[in-house]
């Protein structure tokens, strides 16, 4: 395990960055090696019911591609040039043995590319269990809810097959309690950033959230507490930055340098959708009663909005962004979307229209997880920030 320097913000951030840069997933490997029989279950964005994995005694491990550090050689041989980068770098992780300790992989229904990757995984890694997680697009309890419960029970059964022991209701309830605490802490640190964005830079919060995808939830909860305690004890200089919401990077992640470039250009990021899974459910999932039914209910009625999820109510379409702007006192929206990301890019014109109707300034650019040139981003975001400062009151 990597050493965690206590208390000091810089130490926590350094620890998170070490985890972020470690494409061999040493911390997850160490967790698995610590006790015989432990299992690790990988998952892709944007949402997976991690509670069930945890209840199975396994470690949920977020796989978010290879970022800008991984040279993709094999992965490019599996994809045409017009397909986004996250599947090719994920294949690269698999082919190069970086995921050889992972006992199962879950692929949520986010888009056609990730869906097809689930089948590719079956063909390429037949020794590893893999499962596509079909999320309902019907949000009625007795229709989509019943279907999702059956899907959750199949996942439960599949996990029990991997771990060799059944997953009890009480174990799932205990995991819900832990993940409720996790989401409360994540909401708290996001709220802290809204309140003091100068003290919670987006690049730091990003690394802290990424750590939540590789660490056991108990450990990550403590890390978030430590980070907030440490941040509250310090005061960093306040800058005359614009407050922006960044939207569209819910799957393939931007390079860390891109997040820093937005900040350096004069923007405080006060909300984002980088790792929605950490705060997918907007409030606590009920603990009493049938835990699978509770997970399904929370997905249907209390989860965030994002382009891969259907919005049945035309009047509500895209309002989540407007509400985020209002709630977080943002002055504009930056659409940062992965190249060739169908759900994000197809949704963008709708969202732009809705923001326009509500008088919210916005800009858009595309990235790939290995984008290297940040100067154009910095200039674009800087100009956006300046224009907000100069003309938003007129």
């Amino acid at each position: 395990m990597l050493d965690v320097p206590q208390s000091a913000t810089a130490g926590i951030v350094r620890y998170c960055e070490d985890l972020f840069r470690d494409l061999n997933f040493e911390s997850a490997r160490a967790w698995k090696a610590a006790e015989p029989g432990r299992k690790v279950i990988g998952y892709m964005p944007y949402y997976i019911p991690r509670e069930i994995i945890h209840a199975a005694g396994a470690l949920p491990l977020g796989i978010l591609g290879g970022g800008d550090q991984l040279e993709v050689i094999h992965g490019d041989a599996y994809y045409q040039s017009y397909i986004c980068r996250i599947p090719r770098s994920t294949i690269e992780l698999g082919v190069t043995g970086r995921l050889d300790f992972v006992d199962g992989m879950l692929f949520p229904s986010i888009c056609d590319v990730i869906r097809n990757l689930s089948g590719m995984w079956k063909l390429m890694f037949p020794g590893v269990g893999s499962r596509y997680v079909d999320l309902p697009q019907n949000f009625e309890d007795d229709v989509g809810g019943v279907f999702y419960q059956s899907e959750l029970n199949e996942i439960r059964h599949w996990l029990a097959g991997i771990t060799g022991r059944p997953i009890s209701d009480s174990a799932i309830r205990a995991s819900i309690v832990l993940f409720n605490e996790s989401r409360r802490l994540v909401r708290e640190v996001y709220a802290l950033r809204v309140e003091q964005p100068w003290n919670v830079p987006a690049s730091e919060l990003y690394l802290l959230m990424r750590a939540g995808l590789v660490l056991p939830v108990e450990e990550h909860n403590q890390l978030v507490r430590d980070y907030m305690a440490s941040v509250r004890e310090q005061q960093r200089p306040i800058k005359d930055n614009s407050r922006v919401v960044v939207s569209g990077a819910f799957c393939e992640q931007p390079p860390l340098s891109l997040i820093k470039a937005i900040e350096l250009s004069g923007c405080y990021i006060v909300d984002d959708d980088f790792m929605l899974i950490n705060r997918w459910e907007k409030s606590d999932i009920a603990v009493d009663g049938d835990p699978v039914a509770n997970l399904a209910y929370a997905f249907l009625h209390d989860s965030n909005s994002t382009p891969p999820k259907y919005e049945p109510d035309l009047a509500r379409k895209g309002l989540y962004l407007v509400e985020s702007v209002r709630k977080n006192q943002a002055e504009g929206v930056i659409f940062a979307m992965a190249s060739f990301c169908d759900p994000a890019l197809l949704d963008r014109p709708i969202l732009q229209d809705i923001l326009k109707q509500h008088g919210v300034p916005q800009i858009a650019f595309k990235f790939a997880e290995n984008s290297g040139q940040m100067q154009p981003i910095r200039e674009q975001a800087g100009t956006f920030s300046d224009s907000i400062k100069l003309w938003s009151g007129t």
Binding site: A77, Y78, Y79, Q80, Y82, I83, P87, S109, C111, D112, V113, R115, N116, L117, S118, G119, M120, K122, L123, M124, R131, Y132, D134, P136, Q137, N138, E140, D142, V143, G144, V146, F147, S150, E151, P307, P308, Y310, E311, P312, L314, K317, S339, F340, C341, D342, P343, L345, L346, D347, R348, P349, I350, Q352, D353, K366
Partner: protein, 436 residues
């Protein structure tokens, strides 16, 4: 049974089977019906080919308008390029599906259909999206424009290679609790399940003949081209005619025509007449290019290459595996139809299917036409190619085009690639002969 028709855009004669002429006449009548909606007062439903619930829509007297088919028509008429650029001009990304952009661009330019008359606005968007997430975003975009009733009908993915009872139950519940009540409300017509049964009975009859025609390609020489010609054959049943007497008549007529070709030992009819000697039998994976359809096809038949089986002709239903619409289980049957379409099958199933086609149709090789716009088809195709090649020992090749974006059709490159591929097949044959 061959007729020659002349079009105003093509100076050279295009030779068509009588069935092709009949199909064209059906499509013309369909577009006239749509254009006449302001006069007839018919209600219009827009929906998609994979997951098309035509029989259900007919129960409510909806005219069925399929945006994908409109995009294809725009592609064939060389109009889609301008439509796509129009959509990009108004903010749609160059990275995304050109079917969507062709449709959006067509609307932006007045919504003129292939018959030169305005297409009607939909009264309902039936978002029956099967095997493609883009459909969902497509209708969300249309919903913003038309602000009409939009009905989601979610088909689960066959990720584990099977249809489960839970999947069917989920879909039937959507039909009974959401889809049908909303269609009743919009149309003002009460649902009659016996009417649905009757349409499904008719569907099954037409499906029998379609399957016979597609499987006729097992004979040598193949009497049909199951990709380029196959696109004509699937038109009525994938579109607005499934469940109608017209479809029954068309597929019976087509079958008789193909039976005659088999009896005479003839190969397929191409736009330049009967194809010459059959030299290469191919299985093709992926949709075609429509902007240069005839030029693309010519690259095959000039070399004596005939497509004996294709996955694209299964995107609106995999009838050749035995599925038929079942009047005794009407709603379950609609659900199973949607679940079984080609792009709703996981990659291992797709590989198995193509491998089986290679064997059953005694093909010389697999050709993948990878479509820039269509991640549902394209993501994973390079692995599919390797797997099928490995399992069958037959050569495979990969070309890239687009459905309706002319910017992605590079004729010289594709021709060069195809010629090399045919040489590869020859070499493989020579190797087999030498080994024997």
């Amino acid at each position: 049974m061959t007729v020659i028709t002349r079009t105003s855009t093509k100076p050279a004669a295009i030779i068509k089977d009588a069935s092709m002429a009949k199909q064209k006449d059906m499509m013309s009548r369909h577009y006239e019906r749509l254009a006449n909606v302001p006069e007839t007062g018919e209600k219009v439903a827009a929906t998609f080919v994979p997951g098309n619930l035509n029989e259900l829509l007919m129960c409510f007297d909806f005219a069925n308008n399929l945006p994908e088919v409109n995009a294809i028509q725009s592609g064939l008429r060389k109009q889609s390029g301008a439509y796509i650029m129009e959509a990009e001009k108004i903010g749609h990304s160059e990275d995304v599906c050109t079917y969507v952009k062709s449709d959006i661009g067509m609307m932006a330019k007045g919504g003129i259909g292939p018959n030169g008359r305005k297409l009607p606005d939909p009264d309902v968007l039936l978002l029956s999206y099967t095997g493609c997430f883009t459909f969902m975003k497509w209708f969300e975009l249309l919903r913003q424009q038309y602000r009409c009733e939009t009905i989601m009908f979610h088909t689960p993915y066959m990720a584990d290679g099977k249809v489960t009872k839970d999947m069917v139950r989920y879909m039937v519940k959507q039909l009974t609790q959401d889809v049908i009540p909303k269609l009743e409300r919009v149309s003002g017509i009460k649902f009659d399940i016996d009417r649905l049964r009757e349409y499904l009975r008719k569907s099954a009859r037409a499906e029998d003949d379609l399957v016979w025609v597609l499987q006729s390609a097992k004979t040598k020489p193949s009497p049909i081209d199951a990709y380029f010609g196959g696109i004509y054959y699937i038109g009525p049943i994938f579109g607005a005619f499934r469940g109608t007497d017209d479809a029954i008549d068309y597929y019976r007529f087509l079958r008789e025509e193909v039976e005659e070709r088999v009896a005479q030992g003839k190969g397929p009819v191409t736009p330049d007449g009967d194809m010459g000697k059959e030299r290469y039998r191919l299985v093709v994976e992926g949709p075609p290019n429509y902007t240069h359809f005839r030029q693309f096809w010519k690259m095959f038949y000039d070399e004596g290459a005939v497509v004996v089986a294709s996955s694209y002709t299964k995107v609106g239903g995999t009838y050749d595996f035995g599925f038929r619409h079942d009047p005794d289980h009407p709603l379950e049957s609609l659900a199973e139809y949607c679940l079984n379409v080609y792009t709703n099958r996981n990659l291992p199933m797709r590989v198995d299917m193509l491998e089986n086609y290679m064997n059953e149709y005694e093909a010389d090789g697999l050709l993948i036409n990878s479509i820039k716009s269509c991640n549902s088809f394209s993501a994973g195709q390079l692995l599919i190619m390797r797997e099928v090649e490995k399992r069958t020992g037959k050569p495979a090749a990969f070309i890239e085009t687009d459905l309706v974006d002319p910017r992605y059709f590079s004729a010289a490159n594709i021709k060069n690639r195809l010629e090399s591929y045919f040489q590869m097949i020859e070499q493989k044959r020579a190797g087999v002969r030498a080994a024997a």
